[in-house]
Amino acid sequence: MKRMLRTAATLLAVLLPTAAPAAWTVSETTLDNGLKVIVREDHRAPVVVSQVWYRVGSSYEQHGVTGISHVLEHMMFKGTKQHGPGEFSEIISRNGGRQNAFTGRDYTTYFEQLSADRLGIALELEADRMHNLLLDPEQFDRERQVVMEERRLRTVDKPVPTMIERFHAVAYPVSPYGHPVIGWVDDLKALNLDDLEAWYRTYYVPSNATLVVCGDVDPERVFSLARKYFGPIPAGEVPPSRGGSGLTAPGERRITVNDRRADVPFVVMGYGVPSGATAVSPDDVYALMVLATVLDGGQGARLAQSLVRDQGVAASAGAGYDPVSRLDDQFTLQATPAPGHDPAELERALRGEVARLQDATVSHDELQRAKNQLLADHLFGLDSTFYQAMQIGMLETTGIGWKTLRDYEPGVRGVTPGDIQRVARQYLTDARLTVGVLRPQPDANTTHTGTAGHGEGS
């Protein structure tokens, strides 16, 4: 059996087809006012996705105004001089479209999915709210409540997200990645309309935005629609880039959250690592991606094999590294204990896997399998127009650039066993490590220890 697998792996090294980057037919232009327009043609179905990406998100925020980018995202549906509250959504809906928005650490994004011949409707509406948003006090008061509900739903009432939110605050002692995207409760309460207005005027300018269109479209036609609708918007000033990565190796930290609502413990370990935007060499980024896949590429990878099946200490275990961010990020390991095992055992087991990567090089089979998975997944990603537009928008907005997609395949292929050992030794060190542990309160029926701090009680 073993021998057969090795042969298969050797063959695959030669035979696996080139993945997505080669197929990336992308056109781009920049309007006179600075708006960048990127078009990815995909003619499989008569549909289109349009996304407007603003370079602003929680990593641009300071303490005191955390959550403002996300609240502004909500307010962007509340109308302009031309269109009343909710009208945006109604027009897109009537035209057989879907639309929504999302806010992250590095971006705020608005999107529409429509029949390809109706792209102009989306662009006209997006251009309108890029420049003509009306911020109404009553709408704002209501929407702040909606955001508070969103925060309760996503974080406050969930033990694991509550722990992860605090973990980030500790793992990024200086970097603005320590803020939750949705904001801290006190800041949300204190936010006012003037703050929002200033935020909108500063960041919602063409020179701070990228329009990404993917689908059954002709690039020249998209460019001309973009010029027609976005062209008249004044350029504005390019806002300053805010926030640095801070400390790369602050020293080992630990946070333990006792939560009486929790029933299952959870462990997360994060190492501060460079992103695609901050890495001195992209080699390190590709090596970390392959390393993450060696650990968690699937049920055959190391964490499932070792922690879940061989040792039996974990019910599930995973590793993650997403290099598409503008500041230093975290390489994470996480696990849920199997019944009868505790977080300390899991932490030991996870640290054992890190040491194993540092002590010995990965085998040829293992490396090849991880690369094959990354390249196949990259090709599978072409099945979704939305995902393709997302990739372009995220790469542009984080400053990495969509053209790095062309380097993806050679980058992944070029990773050697020595590279993986090198980045494991360089980055997966104690000084870069934060350990987070969620512990169910042993006595679930008493309240004398208090709930694990639900920020906004009533």
Partner: protein, 442 residues
């Protein structure tokens, strides 16, 4: 290296240009010699393929062993006589293939996504067929997956939405098999025995109880040989018998589950139409107006846009084989629960009495028909659709006629369907929140 890459790249580009799809793909269907039904759509733009097997082997078949279907499904890839779980997974991963499994109330599935080039696809299909034909349900794997299910059940206990979902299904479906939670209960999962898993597999994971969905860059001949190969090792067996129909509720009922949360989770609803009901389309359109179209819907307008009561409020009609469910859901801060319940009940009752206006109906139909191509724009979407069409035995022109059937829904059809299937006076209401808020006794 470079020239070879460019060659493939050119091929891929040509394929992308040539592969321009029509709005509605053509479904081909046949039966394998082993008796499995096959649904196939050829797409040539990307060199990938999706294969999904769907068995009528969901939790509706659990009988007195809640969780048995999920445990059986979860063990499909965990061992054969010759390979353990690591070897099974590793071999898929060597070829970059992604394999997954899932089990709900009606369906139990196992799926693989692979590169379509023969040198990858052939070994992946052979491996998939081998694994499906010879599952050995090793004792150690049974215990491991059982423990994972128990951990997952404990995680549900810390989730108000999971608690609400379980209670809602129990109350809506009563003594019907759909009432049984697919993940089982701590008690039932602990009691499951390996012999029961083997028996369940022998009975339900058989060719005549299977639908094979194939979407991707292969010819009909290739698709036929793939379907034959992966069902070839299955026993022919019999199709599972029809389930008893879901019964309507007799009375309104409120289920209260105390939970220490900042929000109270609310679910309201009742049994509803099956997949094959002639009322499905009218009810679907009516529901779209009420709560099926995100922020544009009436419920969201009343709860979120007008009052800032919730982040998410929706309604849905979820049809299944033996009857589905109508469900209205939201989460509100505890202090506003009473107001939210008044708004929800008032909105549902008013909509039930008045039905949609002509303008509302028109706007919803425009959205549903206009956005339909968005549901079919990826191989993944298509795989889900044709598996569903095959499983529920819907007509092969389902996709082609979908928009016409929506267009045909009149104001009267929608109103009649609403009156027939939505009963504001006899719904289940589930409340998960602090005891003093929801009025529960500790």
């Amino acid at each position: 290296m470079r020239p070879a890459l460019t060659g493939v790249c050119m091929l891929l580009l040509t394929a992308l240009c040539a592969g321009r799809a029509q709005a509605t793909p053509t479904i081909q269907s046949w039966r394998t010699d082993s008796g499995a039904r096959v649904m196939f759509v050829r797409t040539t733009a990307l060199p990938i393929i999706d294969v999904r097997l769907t068995f009528d082997a969901g939790s509706a078949r659990d009988g007195d062993h809640a969780g048995l279907a999920t445990l059986t499904n979860g063990l499909l890839l965990e061992g054969t006589e010759r390979m353990d779980a690591g070897e099974i997974a590793g071999r898929f991963e060597q070829y970059g293939a992604r394999v997954s499994n899932d089990s709900a109330r009606d369906m139990a599935t196992v799926s693989v996504r692979s590169l379509a080039a023969a040198d990858k696809l052939d070994p992946v299909v052979a491996h998939f067929a081998d694994v499906l034909a010879h599952p050995s349900f090793p004792k150690a794997a049974v215990e491991r997956v059982r423990k994972q299910m128990l951990v997952s059940l404990r995680e549900d206990r810390q989730s108000p939405s999971a608690l609400a979902d379980r209670a809602f299904a129990r109350a809506v479906f009563g003594d019907h098999p759909y009432a049984s939670p697919p993940d089982g209960t701590v008690h039932s999962v602990r009691a499951l025995e390996r012999a029961e898993v083997v028996g369940f597999h022998d009975r339900y994971y058989v060719a005549r109880n299977a639908v094979v969905a194939i979407v991707g860059d292969v010819t009909r001949d290739r698709a036929e040989s793939i379907a034959a190969r992966i069902t070839g090792g299955l026993v022919g067996g019999k199709h599972a018998p029809a389930l008893p129909p879901v019964k309507p509720l007799d009375n309104a009922r409120t289920v209260r589950i105390p939970f220490d949360s900042a929000q109270t989770h609310v679910l309201m609803g009742e049994p509803s139409v099956s997949r094959s009901s002639p009322d499905y389309f009218p009810l679907y359109v009516a529901n779209h107006v009420l709560g099926g179209n995100g922020l544009v819907s009436i419920l969201s307008g009343q709860m979120r846009e007008k009052r800032g009561l919730s982040y998410s409020t929706y309604s849905t009609v979820a049809p299944a084989a033996a009857g589905g469910r109508f469900e209205v859901g939201t989460q509100v801060r505890n202090a506003k629960l009473d107001e939210a319940l008044d708004v929800l009940k008032g909105t549902i009752a008013e909509f039930h009495d008045d039905g949609p206006t002509a303008a509302q109906l028109k706007a919803s139909k425009q959205n549903i028909t206009g956005s339909f191509p968005l549901n079919l724009d990826s191989n993944r979407d298509l795989t889900g659709y044709i598996a569903m069409i095959g499983f529920y035995d819907l007509p092969l022109d389902y996709l082609a006629t979908f928009r016409d059937r929506i267009e045909a829904v009149s104001e009267r059809d929608a109103t009649v369907a609403l009156r027939r299937h939505v009963h504001p006076q006899r719904m289940v209401t589930v409340l998960v929140g602090p005891a003093d808020v929801i009025g529960a006794k500790r």
